[in-house]
Amino acid sequence: MTMREQAAATIVDLFRRDERVAVVMADISLDQLRPAMRHDPRRAINVGIMEQAAVGVAAGFALEGYHPVVHTIAPFLAERPLEQVKLDFGYQGLGGLFVSVGASYDYGESGGTHHAPGDVQALGSIPRVEVVVPGTPRETDGLVRATYANGRPTYLRTSVVENARPVELAPGGLTPVRRGSELTVVAVGPLLDRTLAAVDGLDATVLYATTVLPLDAATLAAEAAGAPEVVVVEPFYEGTLAAQVSEALEHRATRLLSVGVPRAFISRYGPAAQHDAALGLDVRGIRERIRRFVA
């Protein structure tokens, strides 16, 4: 089961268990979410291909005390209706879960219109927004359950890129998976496995991040206390988490390297793995960046 399929299955399960859950779709993943529509079509609404309305309709449910879940492809969920998320949810103090499919260039063969490496940075401009980035289907299940009724606009970013095994997540969002003394590496969601492979042979602490907004500042400050070098390996635009890392470590001197998606439009067509290799986000690319940084 993929993260996308797991997210839909968990949403359907919550929908059946909790009458306060509403699901708003925009013509995407209908096959997976159809059981919700069959169970109670009054609160499982496919609005059609209209993402601004999808977020507005979800806010209407939230105004009435529901926990809305909105689902579509990342650029059409995080960017096109950004003002609806900002005002209808953020400003109005409402909660809702926004579950995307197609992280960064997962739709790598579809071209730049379907890419969204800027999703987390865009949503991060909205106060109160929480962002969770699972790395496996099982983590997806847990994070959907943990956040759907948290009272905040929350973005859950599923991806076709996955880690081989789920991690038992620590509360707070940063989970130490390996400890060293010369370097601290924060690996976000689906990039954990390749980050661990990339730092093989280095004396590095690796912290696994699934909740990236807000970033777990206390754990980062404690785990990174012994070394000035900090690396963030992030599956979205490079530097997206830099401000939060800087704030968490403002009490000390830090050298920070951000390894993520370069800020340039992508004009090639190919699967996500091919883009990763071309953009330096495969094991080899990550290892080279980190080794140059610590050399």
């Binding site: 209209m50 507005g56 209407g60 005002l87 209808d88 109005q92």
Partner: protein
């Protein structure tokens, strides 16, 4: 033409207490008669219990020029009329666009155009899901606000899904710089039961706003 002149005079007097947003005076006065009729004769609301579950919902999507809205809410008893004197003031609760956290009776915080109608569609669905089938949802936009594409997403959707508990009120004071043509005809073509009335005639407004059809209802209130 039927007008409750006493009430309107009283509301206009209340509106004079709110100063500082004179550029939106036309926007404010254009909604005055509709809001009065709505709150006096149509909406099922209780000023003592603004969050009463069985109330009708009203969303002022056109958040601009909310002076008439505030005057109507104050006169209806949602908050003391003296609060009107603190319009746009730092320590007051009445801003240039209404805030649902600050003003009793305000269902949604609006101001950016094109947000209220999609939210009202969601509220309409939510009331259905709760089994509140008699309750209605009203949303007010301006004619120029209908320039915003998000409205037409919601208009297409609500018409297609026959959301019969939803009523859209369009204040048509010809403020759009893009010719809107026959707004009621446009809405009818999207599956709405749409009518145009004199936006100052209280009898016409009352009859149109009280009517519930088997499709979403639109009342275009023409302001001359």
């Amino acid at each position: 033409m039927a007008i409750d002149t006493g009430a309107i005079a009283e509301l206009r007097e209340l509106m004079t207490r709110m100063t500082g947003d004179e550029k939106h005076t036309n926007a404010a006065t254009s909604t005055l008669d509709v809001l009065h009729v709505l709150y006096e004769d149509v909406l099922r609301v209780d000023p003592e219990r603004p969050a009463w579950e069985e109330r009708d919902r009203f969303v002022l999507s056109k958040g601009h020029g909310p002076m008439a809205y505030y005057a109507v809410l104050a006169r209806r008893g949602f908050f003391p009329v003296d609060e009107l004197d603190r319009f746009l003031e730092w320590d007051g609760s009445l801003g240039g666009h209404p805030d649902r956290h600050r003003v009793p009776g305000v269902e949604a915080s609006t101001g950016s155009l094109g947000h209220g109608l999609p939210m009202a569609v969601g509220v309409s669905y939510a009331l259905r899901a709760k089994g509140l089938d008699e309750q209605r949802v009203f949303v007010l936009t301006g004619d120029a606000e209908l320039n915003e594409g998000s409205n037409w997403e919601a208009i297409l959707h609500a018409g297609a899904r026959r959301l019969d508990n939803l009523t859209l009120i369009v204040i048509d004071n010809r403020s759009s710089t893009v010719a809107m043509g026959d707004i009621a005809a446009k809405l009818a073509s999207f599956g709405w039961e749409a009518t145009t009335v004199d936006g100052r005639d209280h009898d016409e407004l009352r009859a149109a706003l009280s009517h519930r059809a088997e499709a979403p209802t639109a009342v275009v209130a023409a302001i001359s």
